[in-house]
Symmetry: D2
Subunit: 144 residues, 4 copies
Amino acid sequence: MSKPVFEIQRHVEFYETDMAGIVHFSNFFRYMEACEHAFVRSLDHELHGMLDGLETGWPRVNATCDYRAPARFGDLLTIRLYLEEIRNRSVRYRFEISRDAILVAEGAIAAAHVAITPDGIKAVPLPEPLKLKLQSLITDHNRT
Amino acid sequence: MSKPVFEIQRHVEFYETDMAGIVHFSNFFRYMEACEHAFVRSLDHELHGMLDGLETGWPRVNATCDYRAPARFGDLLTIRLYLEEIRNRSVRYRFEISRDAILVAEGAIAAAHVAITPDGIKAVPLPEPLKLKLQSLITDHNRT
Amino acid sequence: MSKPVFEIQRHVEFYETDMAGIVHFSNFFRYMEACEHAFVRSLDHELHGMLDGLETGWPRVNATCDYRAPARFGDLLTIRLYLEEIRNRSVRYRFEISRDAILVAEGAIAAAHVAITPDGIKAVPLPEPLKLKLQSLITDHNRT
Amino acid sequence: MSKPVFEIQRHVEFYETDMAGIVHFSNFFRYMEACEHAFVRSLDHELHGMLDGLETGWPRVNATCDYRAPARFGDLLTIRLYLEEIRNRSVRYRFEISRDAILVAEGAIAAAHVAITPDGIKAVPLPEPLKLKLQSLITDHNRT
């Protein structure tokens, strides 16, 4: 079984709740992305880079979330990131969001690596240094 | 093939975009929910009702979205709702979000019908009038 | 007394409420901006234009809001825009947000007109056609 | 001159930016509220309490912000809270938001202390323990 390669913690903010008294479901996608971005930063990689003079980015291809238990204002959430799949031009992350030992939500984000060309957005290979780091993390974690 | 049973339109707001110049992916879940709520209102049904003196609600069980094309500030989006599955205690809606003839995103939301009891949240049967309306809409649309 | 020069209506969305059961106060700034943008569009003016080959924009200098009454999920809000001040390089809008005859909030946004130069952001004069339209609207409304 | 009585730090998240490449102005109100809530928690006080069997809360009466410099994705912001005014039934906080030595924004939030009664929302006196703590903080800081 895979292991998490990164995690962050954050308190639920008041403005993230809705009138049902719990975190609005859309905000879990923001929690996942915040974790993804902190992870990429931890690898010393710039999210918005350049490739042959073109701006690059990571638009989302798919996002999904299963909700297991409600999260409330002030809860301290742990968001764990798993590397689900590393492809040539895209990455798929899986996430678990928990409060203490309680699983609150689990989800996934698939992001493509693209360059913004004069003719539009084009999928381009992952930056080589990033790809190597991601692959080594997968291997490390499978070994342990 | 199923047909949409409801649709809304809305312009992309400035605050829904991110620094990549496009609608942040989390906002598509808000578009879908806005369409779901307008649909339920159109059936003369209150989203937050009462059952045997208990408050009821519709927490999300799953939400998913596939992103096909970017949406930008000012775009007029059409969000179409399809009834994917009507179960005893839950509903699954499917959505297509498009700009003119271009499919921008498609997704789904599964929501459980629950009552807030002194012992916690419990799944309860769909309100009968709502269930009948939903079933008749499915049948109508399959016939046509 | 000044009169509104523009208005929009919108329903309060579920995701705009918080656990107190009312619209989160930060969202009123989004309502005001949505009204401002719809107003500028109604004048056939592009919010993000070009000036001598430089990108231009309208960063906010000040935003303020007084809250008079709560707004709730499903409420139909009317947002009215007033031209408070038109200066050489900035505009100040005032807004009233109401539900039926009830004043829910009133606020203001001051926005500077800037160009993004290689040396940073610089305040630049309002586009002449926009300035003339704004001034004629003020005059018209003062006359009536 | 008054001194800050509390501060928090947070990184700007990607979803807090807009297509102008900077933090959307509405989010500064969320930063200020996050700081206020962390401050109240630091005093061991529950934001949503009870008074004579009635639920209490802190609806906003006014919120304002002056924007001095843009904040961007990844910036580490410091939000400092100042006690501007402690009244019988309300508090006014002032905030400074900065990145390193650069002042990014300054604002204020005035919040009333209310109880939710069967006849509607009514302003009620601040909880005595909280009021005493706030007053001692003001005094301490004026002395130093």
